[in-house]
């Protein structure tokens, strides 16, 4: 058996490494082909999404807000990589070429756009096919993506694949492009990085035209592979047997189902490291019993990994009115209904389950993506320090794909977006610290997360020019116990 093609960390490569030069040359060659050619750059990008009024048959296929997010994108990248490799070989490049990945969470300056993608010219002075101007101001001059949006911890810490607050997303129909079952990996880092880079990357109908799209998705794919080392993918036939159509090298029609992409070894590629370099698991660990302000039943020790399905949830509180976000911090109280929590407590004592808490941000809508990622924090103290922000951060809200979600093409109804987060660990911690005294209210703070502007002369640090003032409406913020 041949050695697998190895996808390497782009930040381990020099700017003029043959892998990146060959990628740039292939992009240029593919851009020269007509959009009707399935191996052209325009066609490949349009398979994800397109603004064309007359789309070709395999265009507009991407799957988001759905448990098919990871399987569809792995297959998409696999065929794209094969098509680019064929082009690289035709250009006289390395025959073992593989797509690099951008590990923006790798520390140091790895959170900035890789050098080979930043400038209009390459080191030899020729035009740079990897550069596009359609990115947020600051990105091309080295603004850093903050760790709160590049972190894989929210995703990798989930024990289960299926569910909106779990790793891979909730069950949705296989047709249609945007549902509201976004999983934790899809939201953070995937959606948030799309929005933070902005420009073409900020809209699913243009995102894949930016050459960095593919390195971003290689990283998202790598995170799925890492998670798979310790956890179980769905065994449900609706997921494993769901096949999607693509094109292979030479424009030949091809199809893959989730069962066919679960193992990257069968797809003949590998990542350049054997396992995650941070201790596993990153956030979820067995804790000593702590008491919430309610007299809850005792909680049994948590098993790891936990293949159990998402528990049946029970809504215990929600906001009364929609919340508007317009680029500044907003704090929203969610009252926990005493009658519900008391009656739940009796039920739970009867059933002896572990108690868990979830926070849902629902019906998130805007005319279009304002290009802002909001961090979601629970019970954030006034005048919060960096440490407080990190300790109370439970997830992010960003609006990648809102244009398509509210105005869908296919079989799905129009809808807002939804982000669902488990907050059990945090409430446990707050209860143990004695900082969640009454237990009758959860305060949810939405706080815009800004890019880390590059060091150096102030005139290089370009402020973001995205439409921060476009209002986002959050229909409801709700707390659920299970």
């Amino acid at each position: 058996m041949s050695l697998p093609f190895v996808r390497v960390d782009v930040w381990t490569l020099p700017e003029d490494d043959p892998v990146l030069t060959a990628y740039g040359d292939a992009v240029a060659a593919m851009k020269a082909k007509p959009a009707s050619d399935p191996t052209s750059w325009a066609y490949q990008a349009a398979m994800h999404g397109s603004l064309s009024a007359a789309p070709l048959p395999l265009w507009n296929q991407c799957r988001h807000g759905s448990w098919y997010f990871v399987s569809w994108h792995r297959a998409y990248l696999y065929y794209f990589e094969r098509i680019v490799r064929a082009q690289v070989v035709a250009n006289g490049g390395p025959p073992d070429w593989a797509l690099p990945y951008w590990n923006y969470d790798g520390g140091g300056d790895h959170n900035t756009l890789p050098l080979a993608f930043r400038g209009p010219t390459r080191t030899d002075g020729s035009a740079n096919p990897l550069f596009v101007t359609q990115r947020n101001a600051g990105i091309n001059s080295g603004a850093g993506l903050p760790p709160s949006i590049t972190t894989p911890a929210f995703a990798l810490g989930r024990p289960t694949f299926t569910g909106a607050s779990e790793f891979g997303g909730g069950i949705s129909s296989a047709s249609g492009q945007f549902w509201s079952q976004t999983g934790r990996l899809e939201q953070t880092p995937h959606n948030d990085v799309h929005v933070a880079i902005g420009g073409w990357m900020g809209n699913p109908d243009t995102a894949a035209q930016d050459p960095i799209f593919w390195l971003h998705h290689a990283n998202v794919d790598r995170l799925w592979w890492l998670w798979q080392q310790h956890h179980q993918d769905p065994t449900d036939g609706r997921w494993t047997k769901q096949s999607f159509d693509f094109v292979d090298t030479g424009g030949v029609p091809a199809a893959l189902d989730a069962a066919g992409v679960e193992s990257i070894a069968t797809l003949d590629y590998a990542y350049d490291h054997r396992r995650l370099r941070i201790p596993w698991p990153p956030i979820r660990k067995v804790r000593p019993l702590v008491r919430w302000p309610f007299p809850w039943p005792e909680r049994p020790e948590r098993r790891l990994p936990d293949p159990a399905p998402e528990p049946q949830r029970e809504i215990v509180g929600a906001t009364e009115q929609p919340v508007q976000l317009v680029g500044s911090q907003v704090r929203v109280p969610v009252r926990i209904d005493r009658r519900v929590s008391e009656s739940l407590r009796f039920d739970m004592r009867a059933r002896q389950p572990e108690h868990r808490a979830f926070l849902d941000v629902e019906d998130i809508d805007a005319d279009r993506d304002p290009g802002v990622v909001y961090g979601v924090y629970v019970n954030l103290p006034d005048g919060a320090s960096e440490a407080d922000l990190a300790a109370h951060h439970v997830g992010n809200v960003s609006l990648f794909g809102v244009e398509r979600a509210r105005d869908p093409r296919g079989d799905e109804p129009g809808h807002g977006l939804r982000v669902s987060m488990e907050i059990t660990e945090l409430l446990d911690r707050l209860a143990a610290d004695g900082t969640w005294e009454d237990g009758e209210q959860v305060d949810v703070t939405f706080r815009p997360i800004t890019l880390e502007q590059p060091a150096g002369p102030a005139d290089q640090a370009v402020a973001r020019t995205e439409h921060v003032q476009l209002p986002i409406t959050v229909g409801r913020v709700s707390v659920h116990f299970a």
Partner: protein, 218 residues
């Protein structure tokens, strides 16, 4: 207190069960009076029973959504508010049809229904039936939201299915027609491929229309 709480947990698994019982009762009443001929506004109660039977199943997902998104102690109330306002839309439509519209031959009504299936409006309304809305937890806002949600889903459902129900108003209320068209409404509502299903339904309706109209034209 414990005994009070436990049955409510069971109800939470299928909070739409109560509405399903109402739909089943409507079917029993309907089956007891087959072949009913419409005779104007006096038939509005009969129409209401038929609307509950035929359009009720399509409302069950909305009832479930409303109940699961409401606090447990006001779950039934919210579900009832949703269900009644949904039904109110269909009663209002029935009043318009029975009061104002002249009787239409079944074949023509079928042809109109088949044509409507193929319009982009049909698709838009059908998808609109699935759209949720935020439901506040307590107080008058919660009541208003559940009722508004029912009106909106009912309105979308009427926009989607008005032509099918006009077929029901155009002929005697036979069990076969009622069951067949109800099945069609429900299939469109729950299928994973609603757009394709509306087209297949259009074909079936057009074939039926042809069967009715051909003898008249020959």
């Amino acid at each position: 207190m414990v005994a009070f709480a436990v049955p409510r947990v069971r109800a939470a698994a299928h909070p739409e069960a109560g509405a399903a019982v109402v739909v089943a009762l409507a079917w029993i009443v309907l089956l007891a009076r087959p072949g009913h001929h419409w005779a104007g506004p006096a038939d509005l109660p009969q129409w209401t029973v038929m609307a509950a039977a035929m359009m009720g199943p399509a409302a069950l997902p909305g009832v479930r959504h409303t109940a699961l998104n409401s606090l447990r102690w006001r779950r039934r109330r919210a579900a009832a508010e949703f269900g009644l306002s949904y039904l109110a839309v269909w009663v209002a439509y029935g009043a318009v049809v029975l009061l104002l519209l002249p009787p239409v031959p079944v074949g023509v009504a079928l042809l109109v229904a088949a044509g409507w299936q193929l319009t982009p409006y049909k698709r838009r309304w059908l998808l609109e039936c699935h759209r949720g809305r935020p439901l506040p937890p307590t107080g008058p806002r919660a009541d208003r939201a559940a009722a508004e949600f029912g009106l909106r889903v009912g309105g979308a459902c009427a926009g989607s299915c008005w032509a099918l129900m006009a077929v029901m108003a155009s002929g005697p209320m036979s069990v076969l027609w009622t069951a067949g068209l109800s099945g069609l409404v429900l299939t469109e509502r729950v299928t994973r491929h609603p757009v394709r299903t509306t087209r297949i339904a259009a074909l079936v309706l057009a074939a039926l229309a042809f069967a009715y109209l051909a003898p008249a034209l020959a």
